[in-house]
């Protein structure tokens, strides 16, 4: 064993992919965890008709907004656990002393998170959209906005989760930090669906969401990585 040689470092992509695989494997071992945010999503969608009445007109009108708020809250719920488990068993700090660039590892975790929480949400949303009497073509737009939006939310949320990991009242603080960041995403997503429902041009919103997703994809991992180092001091 030649100690003085620097052994070949594994590439960045392999670190990211391995991270995604590991986290998805963990989700596979506890599949129930995927269901919690989904049920929360469904329950929040149930709250509105219960609270304001089930009139068809009201439902169709408020559908896009309610579904989007519910998706946002459900994603917020699932973000709590992004780094907490790793923090508690010490695997998070091991990531911090790895030669792999931390933003790549963080991005890997966030992708795995989106795959296990955002994607199921998008797939389940049509069922709830139907209860809100949403026409099928609008449902398609809604799923697209949710797909793009949950990407943004997972990425923005990773920053908040990184800042609050290890704090005692971290959960409430996480919501307080992320919601203002999430408001533009909600705004773009829900209103784009409303425009589609009103038969108006909605492509602006889609492009804006896509641009936001790309921007957060390239910047959020760095902010989250910096935040993780700060939180683990």
């Amino acid at each position: 064993m030649m100690i003085d040689d620097v052994a070949e470092q594994p590439g960045i992509a392999s670190g990211l992919v391995a991270m995604v695989r590991r986290d998805l494997l963990l989700v596979w071992k506890r599949p129930g965890d995927v269901l919690n945010p989904l049920f929360f999503f469904a329950m929040v969608c149930t709250l509105f008709p219960l609270a304001v009445g089930p009139s068809a007109e009201q439902l169709t009108f408020s559908g896009p907004g309610v579904l989007w708020v519910a998706a946002l809250l459900a994603t917020l719920l699932s973000l709590n656990s992004l780094f907490v488990a790793d923090f508690e068993d010490g695997s998070l700090e091991q990531l911090l002393v790895s030669p792999q660039p931390l933003p790549a590892l963080v991005l890997g975790k966030t992708i795995a998170h989106w795959l296990s929480s955002g994607v199921p949400l998008v797939l389940v949303s049509p069922l709830l959209a139907i209860t809100y009497r949403m026409p099928t073509d609008v449902v398609g737009v809604m799923m697209l906005t949710l797909a793009l939006g949950t990407v943004c939310l997972s990425l923005l949320g990773s920053i908040g989760a990184a800042l609050t990991v290890g704090l005692s009242r971290g959960t409430a603080l996480l919501s307080l930090l992320i919601l203002p960041l999430a408001m533009p995403v909600l705004l773009l997503g829900a209103n784009t669906v409303s425009l589609a429902a009103g038969d108006e041009m909605y492509s602006t919103g889609i492009w804006a969401l896509a641009a936001y997703a790309v921007a957060t994809l390239s910047l959020a991992p760095y902010a989250a990585a910096a935040a993780l180092r700060i939180s683990n001091e």
Partner: protein, 250 residues
């Protein structure tokens, strides 16, 4: 020149210099505010559309402008503190936050009061400026909540610097997205695009108020930073010496 900045970043020197500068900001600031208030209330003519109600802008506009500036200061000082590891920069950010939040609250209250005669309601969600300002208040609360949740001062400083920098980007995004949203729903706005047409009798008091508020903000910020510095450096020799000195320190 560099030496001046270097000394400025040293807490004991800043502490002394800030004490000297603060009155030079506070007094002219108060004078300008006094002029602006009197001129704004009594000298400026009525707005042809809004009557006397518009006069609230003499408080609302400076407050709103300062609420933004305070956040910029928090973000910039946080960035400086993170990159160059200057502890005083972090102290400035910590000191600016409650001030900025207070001005944001003031902007919201005055905005609400302004809107009442025109909208018939105390709050108009459709007004993009008001809604954006509310989101800014949430950003301030998040910053202050994060700071109080972390015990270790340096760790809190760094974490808050990150959230302030992320927040500053968000402020811009929120501004444009809320404007788009408002245009979709045709809400009523307080200020038309391009700003209200103002004659000089209306404008000068407004400028005076803006400048006056800024100077007073600066003075208050310096005082708050001094207090922050005193607290953060409470165990160092220079603070102890100063407090135990015969005159009790200034």
């Amino acid at each position: 020149m560099w030496k001046f900045f270097h000394r400025l970043a040293s807490p004991p020197h800043f502490y002394r210099l800030a004490a000297i500068f603060a009155p030079w900001l506070m007094l002219p600031g108060l004078v300008l505010i006094a002029y602006g208030t009197i001129a704004g209330l009594f000298v400026a003519p009525e707005d042809y559309q809004q009557g006397d109600a518009f006069r609230i802008i003499y408080v609302h506009v400076p407050a709103a402008y300062l609420s933004m500036m305070a956040y910029m200061i928090m973000a910039v000082s946080g960035g400086i503190g993170l990159i160059w590891r200057i502890k005083l920069a972090h102290a400035v950010g910590a000191a600016a936050a409650p001030l900025g939040a207070a001005f944001t609250l003031l902007a919201l209250l005055t905005g609400s009061i302004w809107g009442r005669p025109m909208w018939g309601t105390w709050w108009e969600w459709g007004d993009p400026r008001l809604t954006s300002e509310l989101i800014l208040l949430f950003l301030y609360f998040g910053y202050m909540a994060l700071r109080s949740a972390i015990d270790d001062t340096l760790k809190a400083d760094k974490a808050c610097a990150v959230i302030a920098l992320v927040g500053v980007v968000n402020v811009v995004i929120v501004h444009y997205s809320v404007e788009w949203w408002s245009s979709l729903h045709q809400g009523q706005t307080l200020l038309r695009k391009g700003g209200p047409a103002m004659d000089s009798a209306m404008l000068y008091p407004l400028l005076a108020m803006i400048l006056g508020f800024t100077l007073v903000f600066g003075a208050l910020l310096l005082r708050r930073v001094r207090t922050e510095v005193l607290y953060r450096e409470r165990r160092t020799r220079w603070v102890r010496k100063m407090i135990l000195a015969p005159q009790g320190g200034r």
